[in-house]
């Protein structure tokens, strides 16, 4: 028996397969695209080809697309899954988890290895991966390139939190001849400040803070967030899979029931 966690987010779909000893046997990320249903089906095919056919294993679905996965045995929200995944990955029972996702940012206060409190941004995309994506497009770079560029910039800021208005601001900066590095700096700075302001409403003091989600690969974002939060933010290479790892762990819990 294997345990499969599928996390269909707004931008990317992440899959993790675990064995009874929580060893990760398979991990995959793909764009969600415009149809969660199609994405779910593609993931099913990939899993079957890799020898982990959902029908023979336990599947827990999470993320916005969790209801679009017909082969899921159970759904669990991404808050609970990210918490479980982060606890498993980072090994802390008490910590703060910051997940910067495609369309929302979650701040989770973890105590005794479970969710004690959480908050999410509202409908607005300020401080999310989508904000970064839109600005990267405007600058004709990839989101990854943008965060690298940002490391070399300084002294520029974007004041609008609204993605649409912020894009106009970026265009004005381009028109003014501002260096790309400085604009990239301003974009990342805007996200980091927004996330930090959300985090300030939670009690994260004296606790390790861990970053999960699609932006975890960016050393610059990690550093900028650490500076803004005045705490060393930790991350891990697999942190983008935190939701699917958590889901796989819940699949393992549910596993006994299915047999």
């Amino acid at each position: 028996m294997h345990y499969i966690g599928v996390d269909i987010g707004s931008t990317c779909a992440k899959t993790t397969v675990m064995d009874d000893d929580c060893n990760i046997l398979f991990q995959e990320v793909c764009p969600t695209g415009w149809s969660s249903v199609d994405t779910a089906e593609n993931i099913r095919k990939q899993l079957a080809e890799a020898g982990f056919d959902p029908k023979d294993n336990v599947v827990v679905a999470t993320g916005y697309g969790r209801v679009a996965i017909p082969y899921a045995d159970k759904t669990v929200t991404e808050i609970t899954c990210h918490c479980a995944g982060a606890v498993h990955m980072f090994g802390y029972q008490t910590m703060g988890v910051i997940d910067i996702g495609g369309q929302d940012t979650k701040i989770i206060e973890v105590a005794n290895g479970t969710v004690k409190n959480f908050m999410m941004n509202d409908k607005c995309s300020a401080g999310t991966g989508r904000f970064l994506e839109v600005m990267a497009n405007t600058l004709s770079v990839t989101p990854d390139q943008l965060t690298v560029l940002a490391a070399g910039g300084s002294d520029t800021s974007i004041s609008s939190l609204c993605t649409v208005f912020a894009e106009s601001e970026v265009i004005s900066l381009i028109g003014r001849g501002e260096k790309k590095e400085n604009i990239a700096f301003a974009v990342v700075d805007s996200i980091v400040r927004k996330v930090a302001s959300q985090a300030s409403k939670m009690d994260l003091s004296d606790k390790p803070v861990c970053l999960t989600g699609g932006l975890c690969d960016s050393e610059y974002i990690r550093k900028a967030l650490s500076k803004e939060l005045k705490a060393e933010v930790e991350t891990a290479p697999q942190a983008r899979y935190a939701g699917s790892i958590g889901a796989a762990l819940f699949a393992k819990k549910a596993g006994a029931k299915k047999v």
Partner: protein
């Protein structure tokens, strides 16, 4: 709905636009209410009222007007229904609870006004709600800034009377509210041509107290720790309809529901599986037909067992002292009861926090969800103190801000499901 077309035309309503509302309501009601299992049989009355929502009660009101009676519209649980009743007039709550009316209100109000206020103005100015057309007078009150200014605009189209609500709870404020009630009584006498007598007012106090007691019985039945005899949605619907129904009939129907719920508790008949998480919902009112949050909560593995809201406990808790010797005594008795209500327009407002902590115990809740209508600055700001006290009491807390649209339904569902998962 039966044929009320001529009545709506006589009320100078925009019947074409109103038809659109009449078409969507049965679907919304069916999806939300009729899909629930094991509802109390006595909900049949309330289902019927909703099916004829813009027909049956309005036609009663119009019949009363033909007999020379007046109909008074109100927006707030601080306006004393007893005085209206004692003057021989009918009263009707008017708060708008549908997105349908919001764009109409936005023609007159800034966008960042709470949806309840926007919907209320939209319903009047767009001529798509019979209750707003029938009323001879609308009584406003100075509870929040948005309402105060909106009443000035509403006053261009309909006669308004404003009661000046104190915002503190000192003895001088209670005296001040008694004086306001007295002045309102004079206004009601002028409107109706009737004299308010001490006997008449005492009778009205008894009528409204009876209604409060009946509604309180329903809530008492919801306190049962081992059984959930009625869904939060059905309880909310009863409260929403209480605002515009005849008070004696409201009491009679609510007592019938309470009888059934008490029996259900004895027989262990629950509308939710054992172990369903019990939620206390606090915050801004949920005017009819705003059923969004209850529906999401109750399809996410939890049940609402109490509403600390105007459309909840604030409507019926505390009784008015009966058998007053003089009119002035009666006005003071009314003031004392109404001033026990804890709206966030008061400062300080520790009473509301005490209420919430008390209800969390009385209703055996697992968690508290505090909801705020977008742009309600008072409840929004008060949330910080509520959350702090609730956290100190060790009760899980989730704060939500939303409006009447469905655009955030999935985000809310994720938050609420995660909260229910957190409750274990």
């Amino acid at each position: 709905m039966s044929d009320y077309l001529q009545m709506w035309k006589d009320l100078d309503m925009d019947v074409e636009t109103h038809d659109m509302l009449c078409q969507v309501l049965p679907t919304a009601f069916g999806d939300t209410f009729l899909s629930m299992e094991n509802r109390p049989e006595s909900m049949g009355f309330y289902d019927f009222v909703v099916s004829e929502i813009h027909g049956i009660r309005p036609s009663e009101m119009i019949a009363a007007q033909k007999e020379g009676k007046k109909v008074v519209g109100t927006f707030c649980v601080y306006v004393p229904d007893e005085v209206i009743n004692a003057a021989g007039a009918l009263f009707s709550g008017l708060c708008g609870g549908s997105q349908f009316w919001v764009p109409g209100g936005e023609k007159y109000l800034p966008k960042n006004t709470c949806p309840l206020v926007k919907a209320s103005l939209g319903a009047r100015f767009d001529r798509t709600c019979p209750f707003f057309r029938i009323v001879d007078l609308i009584v406003g009150e100075t509870t929040c800034d948005a309402k105060k200014k909106a009443y000035e605009i509403l006053g261009e189209d309909v006669p308004m009377y404003i009661m000046d609500m104190p915002q503190m709870k000192r003895d001088i404020d209670i005296q001040k509210w008694a004086d306001e009630i007295k002045a309102f009584a004079a206004k009601m006498e002028e409107l109706t041509g009737n004299t308010i007598t001490v006997d008449g007012l005492n009778d009205a106090i008894k009528t409204i107290n009876a209604k409060r007691k009946a509604l309180a019985r329903i809530f008492d039945a919801r306190k049962n720790a081992d059984n959930i005899p009625i869904s939060g949605l059905d309880a909310l619907l009863i409260m929403q309809i209480a605002f515009f129904d005849d008070p004696a009939r409201c009491a009679e129907m609510a007592n019938k529901v309470a009888d059934e719920l008490e029996q259900r508790n004895k027989d262990g008949v629950s509308v939710f599986p054992a172990g369903t998480k019990r939620i206390l919902l606090t915050g801004t009112p949920l005017a009819i037909p705003n059923w969004k949050l209850h529906h999401i909560i109750e399809t996410s593995g939890a049940a609402v067992v109490c509403e600390e809201m105007c459309t909840g406990t604030r409507y019926f808790e505390n009784l008015v002292e009966e058998d007053n010797a003089t009119l002035d005594d009666a006005y003071m008795a009314l003031s004392k009861r109404y001033m026990k209500n804890n709206c966030s327009c008061f400062t300080p407002n520790q009473g509301r926090i005490d209420d919430i902590l008390r209800m969390a115990k009385e209703y055996n809740v697992d968690g508290i969800i505090d909801t705020n209508l977008k742009f309600c600055c008072l409840y929004d700001t008060e949330r910080r103190n509520v959350e702090k006290a609730v956290n100190e009491a060790g009760i899980p807390f989730l704060g939500i801000e939303t409006d009447y649209t469905d655009s955030d339904a999935e985000q809310l569902r994720t938050r609420i499901e995660a909260f229910v998962e957190m409750l274990g």
